[in-house]
Symmetry: C2
Subunit: 153 residues, 2 copies
DNA sequence: TTTGTTATTGAAAATAGATTTCATTTAGCG
DNA sequence: CGCTAAATGAAATCTATTTTCAATAACAAA
């Protein structure tokens, strides 16, 4: 996972911007929040609340897991952080997908939750190259696109 | 969600193939399993175990949710069904992703769980077209590629 | 600085989703 | 039919997430 700023450099520019954002909206800047903010701002990539908690405790030992959940919810409301998936497992059938020529993916509205399916994502060539380069035997892929639907804009 | 076969048509070809698959491996074909099999084979698209249960009960009223979980696990072991995500929420920061030129995605080994990151998924053009066609203001996307890593093959 | 107000916190309780246990049922065989 | 082991449903358990609540600490005003 790529790190933008080493721990020694302290807070990233991004985390500073977020702090201003919170202050401007009247939220208090606590040690707990700073720890989560800086942790979230320091890496791309998805992490579970537990992983975030483990990382953020290097910045503030007393941080509780509950506060991580709450801070993530706050950052999500402010559109600074996004939940890439909910806490529910989801299944689909390989074969049913293969029966269609070019399968479908999901376009999800972040505001109203409306889901639109769209076909053929034109990834085949990219995936073939990826397979050649990494040696993985690629079996399936899953693409989720998030945005705002026309009604909610 | 597209349906391949109407309910009146009864069992789909795909479901029949799956039944043979189970029989060949010595698994028993119960009403409960048939109901889940036919339900999974009848649609593409991700569903939660609860949704699958609700749908499958139209085929077999007495079906329990636990059996849905168990049957999905079985179908997964036989590589007929795939879990597109686990029961844990995952978050990432929009802004951190935007700071990088071309962001990273994940290549996951279904057997050992090894995760490899890869850059730039060449989706930009597709997404621009999608935005134009649907009117969605696209904000982010998330791509997960599943396969078997070289060691596990 | 010190003080007072109130948002925020952590711990524990409550809830929800997924898995395991176990007594009962039933598919598939003779 | 009957037998037997595999499969089921209900309840118990486990794990992830959310809510509750008394204690704490941020920060505005003195």
């Amino acid at each position: 996972m790529k790190r933008f700023f080493s721990k020694k450099e302290g807070m990233s520019t991004l985390a500073k911007i977020w702090e201003d954002h919170l202050r401007a909206r009247g939220y208090r800047l606590t040690k707990a929040r700073r720890a989560v903010l800086e942790t979230m701002a320091s890496e791309t990539g998805h992490r579970t609340p537990e992983e975030i908690h483990r990382q953020a405790r290097w910045r503030y030992r007393k941080l509780g897991l509950v506060t991580v959940y709450r801070t993530l919810a706050l950052l999500e409301r402010l559109n600074l952080v996004q939940r890439v998936h909910q806490g529910k497992m989801r299944c689909h059938s390989f074969a049913a997908v293969r029966l269609e020529k070019g399968h479908h993916h999901q376009l999800i509205c972040r505001t109203c939750g409306h889901v639109e399916e769209f076909p053929d994502c034109a990834l085949d060539r990219t995936l073939r190259k990826l397979q050649a380069r990494t040696g993985f035997a690629i079996e399936s892929h899953h693409l989720e696109v998030v945005g705002q639907c026309p009604k909610c804009q």
